[in-house]
């Protein structure tokens, strides 16, 4: 009897040791003051911020680098205006198309489908329904309306302005236009200027001379 008691005691001790090893708490650190940052970490919780929240909206009126104002309003009128007059400032090149395709795969294809026919994975699983095909006659999307909808969102579709940059959105626009042309069975034409100057070829001609040239260019840009 005594030995069984001992066995039970040993098992209990081992069990309690094992169960104390909790995964829901972070481990000890050797020198926490070398681990913990002095500055504020992204998404940190610090009493100095309202609500303790480091992640805040930028101060009103602040302009991020490379940002350009978007003049069209988030309204039916703004949508129509963008649809009629807004044009893609990014060149239609094969490279941009490729980038647009990658971004489309990340952000759009999950609902709109790889071919843009509105049959994405979420639609097939009936999580989100009613996603239109890009060749929908009633909508008749244009490059301006594609950008406008990505910027503000429309109806059930949210805005993607937080996840993409201006250039990235225009690259996606280019790819969406290609998908639309494919769906309609029309050829998708890459713009004339872009065809005349394929940038990829130029760089391989003379690496060193080119490097000097680009160096010159960057210094010039800096001076500006």
């Amino acid at each position: 009897m005594k030995s069984t008691l001992e066995i039970i005691a040993v098992v209990a001790i081992v069990m309690s040791m094992v169960s104390c090893q909790k995964d829901s708490k972070p481990n000890y650190q050797y020198m926490p003051n070398m681990y913990e940052p002095v500055g504020y970490e992204p998404y940190g919780d610090y009493p100095v911020f309202p609500g303790g929240q480091e992640a805040m909206l930028p101060a009103e009126g602040s302009v991020p680098r490379g940002w350009m104002p978007y003049d069209y309003k988030n309204s039916n009128v703004g949508y129509q205006l963008a649809k009629d007059s807004l044009k893609n400032p990014v060149q239609y090149t094969a490279e941009n198309l490729e980038k647009g395709k990658a971004l489309y795969g990340i952000y759009c294809a999950i609902c709109h489908g790889d071919k843009g026919n509105g049959k994405g994975h979420l639609v097939k699983r009936e999580k989100i329904l009613g996603v239109p095909s890009y060749d929908d006659i009633g909508r008749a999307i244009t490059q301006g309306s594609i950008y406008h909808v990505m910027y503000y969102g429309i109806n059930s579709m949210g805005s993607y302005a937080a996840q993409t940059s201006i250039e990235e959105r225009w690259q996606i626009v280019q790819y969406v236009q290609k998908l639309k042309a494919d769906l309609e069975g029309k050829p998708f034409t890459v713009k004339e200027e872009a065809v005349l100057t394929p940038p990829a070829v130029e760089e391989h001609v003379d690496a060193e001379a080119h490097e000097d040239a680009t160096h010159q260019e960057t210094t010039n840009n800096n001076a500006h």
Binding site: D23, S24, K25, P26, N27, Y28, Q29, Y30, M34, Y35, E36, P37, V38, P42, Y43, D45, G51, G52, Q53, A55, S75, N76, G105, I106, Y107, I110, G118, H121, L122, R125, E126, K127, I128, L129, G130, V131, P132, D136, I137, G138, R139, G153, N155, S156, M157, G158, S159, Y160, A162, Q163, T164, S165, E203, A207
Partner: protein, 449 residues
């Protein structure tokens, strides 16, 4: 075991027979329990929702059209971007609906009172025109939306076919384990009882059970053997040294860290079942040092439309009402009023608990690894698409970083930045592919400065 019992019972007294039957009853009981569970589950799968048919228009065709064209903004029984469509035929005439669906904007412009009233009610949201729909198509759709909501019962019937198998697997595994434990316990009890009875018989029959004779206790023998003591001391020291080393090496390593998050967000459902790209939510991993915790507007991109999970999403562990409750937590945090389909403007931060954390003295940049090197997220974060609750997969130690830098070839194709340096270094090392280490990926200053 039962065989022995039978043997005993034939030879001996009544009592034994009685015990035997107790065991039998227990076993039979277990079998009965098992039997009980199966029909219950079979019933679940068998139940189907009754199909309600109404006149005028093809419901199946209407359903397909509704799901592909209308469902973006309308639900049948719930307000969404547009009104709930059940009963729309009673609110408006069919002729009016034909022209409204084909081109609503024109009707508003023409000053149709009914049209303007709806346009104003829904914050001047213009309904898309559907010129491609014929009147028959519209009839089909109207037939579909006029199907009254089924009673709460269809919960089971509407579940996709695939779900049945999963659900039945979940229940029985715990039940079977419990029953197994019960059976083992019973065996132990039976053994004990048999032993006791046998001893009693031995006693009654006057048999002597031989006692073990006294020997030197084992610990005394151990102490007397000095060589054994020496060997075991060395062994103990080595073992304890091993464990002490192991303990000191894991200090500061958070592998397996799995905190409880304020909202139960399942990566398994989102990234696994629904195949949403990692970078959809963690979009700044492409362009910035931090991979980024998505702000709640990113959640709302989808959850504006998805206010509750499908029945098939619920698992044994987490019920549908649990998941729906978690979505409600999101709505509360972001300040979304599902009834009026608008933001209340009253939001509160969600205090996610950070899992992956490098010490301040080590620099790591996501964009360099995700965009430039093209490393899969799973390489460091593990099978996230299978994690119901997120945990830290990799140890995130320096040795772990360096191992990968030694093994991984740098992706130089199509990256003009690497052209020249690759040419020079590959000549220097005499290889045609360079690892990150050979490019200087092991220099202290690369990560510690």
């Amino acid at each position: 075991m039962p065989k022995n019992l039978d043997d005993n019972s034939t030879y001996n007294m009544r009592q034994v027979k009685y015990r035997n039957s107790v065991a039998k009853v227990l076993i039979l009981g277990t079998v009965f329990l098992f039997a009980l569970f199966n029909p219950v589950m079979a019933q679940d799968e068998a139940a189907t929702a009754p199909v309600v048919a109404t006149s005028g228009g093809d419901i199946a065709k209407g359903e397909a059209l509704f799901k592909s064209l209308c469902a973006a903004c309308h639900k049948r029984y719930k307000k969404m971007t547009g009104p709930a469509l059940f009963g729309v035929t009673e609110r408006h005439s069919t002729e009016w609906l034909y022209s409204w669906i084909k081109n609503s904007a024109a009707m508003v412009a023409a000053g149709d009172a009914e049209a303007i009233a709806i346009y104003e009610e829904y914050n001047k949201t213009a309904m898309n025109a559907f010129p491609q729909l014929t009147n028959t198509d519209i009839d089909d759709i109207l037939a579909y939306v006029s199907v009254p909501k089924a009673a709460p019962a269809p919960v089971v019937g509407q579940a996709p076919v695939g779900s049945g198998g999963d659900a039945s697997g979940g229940v029985s595994s715990t039940v079977i384990l419990g029953l197994l434990a019960l059976v083992f316990l019973m065996l132990v009890v039976v053994l004990f009882l048999v032993n006791k009875t046998l001893r009693r018989f031995a006693e009654l029959n006057g048999l002597q059970i031989p006692e073990n004779e006294k020997r030197t206790p084992i610990w005394k023998a151990f102490v007397q053997n000095q060589f054994l003591i020496l060997v075991s001391t060395v062994f103990l020291l080595l073992v304890s040294g091993y464990f002490v080393y192991g303990f000191f090496m894991q200090v500061g390593v958070d592998q397996g860290y799995q905190p409880i998050q304020p909202i139960h967000y399942s990566h398994k459902i989102h990234a696994g079942d629904n195949k949403i790209e990692c970078k959809y939510c963690h979009s700044s991993a492409r362009v910035s040092k931090t991979s980024g915790i998505p702000s709640l507007n990113v959640c709302m991109n989808c959850h504006k439309s998805i206010s509750e999970v499908a029945d098939a999403t619920a698992t044994e562990e987490y019920s549908k009402s649990f998941y729906d409750g978690e979505i409600q937590k999101l709505y509360k945090a972001v300040g979304w009023d599902a009834d009026s389909q608008s933001y209340t403007g009253k939001s509160e931060p969600v205090k996610w608990v950070r899992i992956h954390n490098l010490p301040d003295f080590a620099y790591f940049n996501h964009s360099q690894h995700v965009s430039v090197a093209g490393v899969e997220c799973q390489k460091c974060h593990g099978p996230v698409e299978e994690m119901e609750i997120m945990y830290q997969y990799a140890p995130l130690t320096m040795g772990w970083c360096i191992n990968c830098h030694r093994e991984t070839n740098v992706k130089v194709e199509g990256n003009a930045y690497y052209d020249k340096i690759h040419e020079q270094l590959s000549k220097k090392y005499g290889v045609d592919k360079l690892t990150a280490a050979q490019m200087g990926g092991l220099e202290c200053g690369k990560c510690h400065y």
